[in-house]
């Protein structure tokens, strides 16, 4: 105790300096938007560099898994090419000059990115990608893994991007029940990262376990038709007008390594028409 008192007395002026500087920094970062944004960018950059380092160090040990995943992705891409050729073929057959039947299906930028960090044990989880504004990534872009929705870009620094995944309690995603063409809201309420809840789904609509949910046209962030998950459990609450539905998410956030970032072609034009939500 005596030694501590001596130490405190000896460094009292330095501690006083730290105290005053901390007050100054707190005032500056809370009042100045520029400094706050620089701090935010610095946090993203630091976290990105750190996770990048960890990733490089552990990459070697994950080669087997990685090869398997790449093979699966290759198969998926071949399937996608095949599907799109089929559509083009059918368009030719009908002699139409329309480039694509539904403009909401077109996407502008598809950028492949590596997941440097995937938080799964908090309420407000986030992911960190190794691509940023220098690669064309911007906030409110969709992040997908093949046909499966991962989340949306929240903030970017020049070299990194922070993503809000579906497993973040702040995110609410419009989901379309394909069998009935009815929409509800997909919300993660915490707990297991494999399951989320489908809210506001009316009780008079027929629904069964195993039905699939995809992104709806209501979302300006995600192209419609991307997979969100499958219905895993249905409960009816006495007196309630909506079901209590548990959804098994398509994406396994514990095995997330590579993702694609995309933006619907007319996203900006579409969002300009929406009322300001700030």
């Amino acid at each position: 105790m005596g030694a501590l008192a001596i130490w405190l007395f000896r460094y009292r002026f330095f501690l006083w300096l730290i105290f005053l500087e901390s007050i100054g920094a707190w005032i500056t970062f809370s009042e100045q938007a520029y400094h706050r944004s620089r701090l935010n960018q610095w946090q993203i950059e630091t976290a990105g560099s750190y996770q990048s380092m960890i990733h490089r160090a552990t990459r070697f040990w994950r080669m087997d898994d990685e090869n398997l995943r790449l093979n699966q992705e290759l198969a998926l891409l071949r399937q996608m090419i095949s599907d799109s050729l089929g559509v083009a073929d059918s368009l030719q057959k009908t002699n139409t000059t329309e480039p694509w039947p539904d403009t909401t299906l077109r996407v502008d930028l598809i950028q492949s990115a590596r997941v440097l960090y995937a938080g799964t044990n908090a309420q407000h989880n986030y992911l960190l990608l190794d691509k940023g504004s220098l690669d064309g990534i911007q906030p409110r872009m969709a992040v997908v893994q093949g046909h499966k929705i991962v989340g949306q870009v929240q903030a970017v620094s020049p070299r990194f991007a922070r993503v809000i995944p579906l497993i973040n309690t702040k995110l609410r995603t419009s989901a379309l029940h394909t069998a009935s063409q009815t929409t509800g809201s997909l919300v993660w309420t915490g707990g297991s990262t494999r399951y989320a809840e489908l809210m506001d789904f009316p009780i008079h609509i027929p629904i069964k376990v195993g039905d699939s949910l995809v992104s709806s046209t209501y979302s300006s962030v995600y192209p419609p038709g991307l997979r969100l998950g499958r219905i895993d459990r249905i409960e009816t609450v006495p007196g309630a007008i909506t079901y209590k539905i548990r959804v098994m998410l398509s994406v396994d956030y514990h095995r997330l390594d590579h993702v694609q970032v995309m933006r619907p072609t007319f996203q900006k034009e579409r969002e300009e028409l929406l009322p300001d939500q700030n």
Binding site: F13, F14, W16, L17, I23, G24, I27, S30, E31, R38
Partner: protein, 169 residues
């Protein structure tokens, strides 16, 4: 040293808010004359009190510039460093005779390294903190050099003028 810093302090702080904050010559010269009051503060005061006064002066300038508290942070840092800086820049003989030397009694070389150095440190830290980008350090240092040269020139002129007034009496 038996001197009261209050007149200079109030004058330069008011001048800073009213006049010098508006000066931005060629995007390089934006003199912070209030640092003269910091250099002028008596070393005999308790260091904690000096730092508190410096923080207050800086914050006053910040409130007129709407700059958060960056001037307060830099001013506090300069005052903290001053007690070490003087031992590096002023001869030990002078310090033995006058532990709190009057700036007017310092020879030009000591004045330049002591006061000029502190003024430059203040401006450099301020502009680096203001831009908060390592990529801009070159421009920040150039700006600090230009502005601190002007402030040091002003300080030196004031000291010359007060010396002449003293000898005229």
């Amino acid at each position: 040293m038996n001197r009261s810093p209050w007149i200079l302090l109030i004058t330069v702080v008011l001048l800073q808010g009213g006049v010098f904050n508006r000066i931005h010559w060629m995007g390089l010269i934006n003199p912070m004359v209030y640092v003269m009051a910091l250099v002028w503060l008596p070393l005999g005061w308790n260091l904690a009190l000096q730092m508190l006064v410096a923080f207050g002066i800086g914050w006053w300038v910040d409130s007129s510039l709407q700059s958060g508290a960056i001037h307060a942070m830099v001013s506090t840092l300069v005052i903290y460093l001053r007690s070490y800086w003087i031992r590096l820049t002023v001869s030990p003989v002078t310090l033995q005779d006058h532990p709190d030397p009057d700036l007017r009694d310092l020879e030009f070389r000591s004045l330049l390294s002591y006061a000029g150095g502190l003024i430059f440190i203040h401006h450099a830290a301020l502009y680096l903190l203001e831009s908060l980008r390592l990529a801009h350090w070159g421009y920040a240092l150039l700006k600090a050099f230009a502005s601190s040269t002007l402030v040091f020139g002003l300080l030196w002129s004031i000291l010359q003028w007060t010396n002449q007034t003293k000898s005229a009496r």
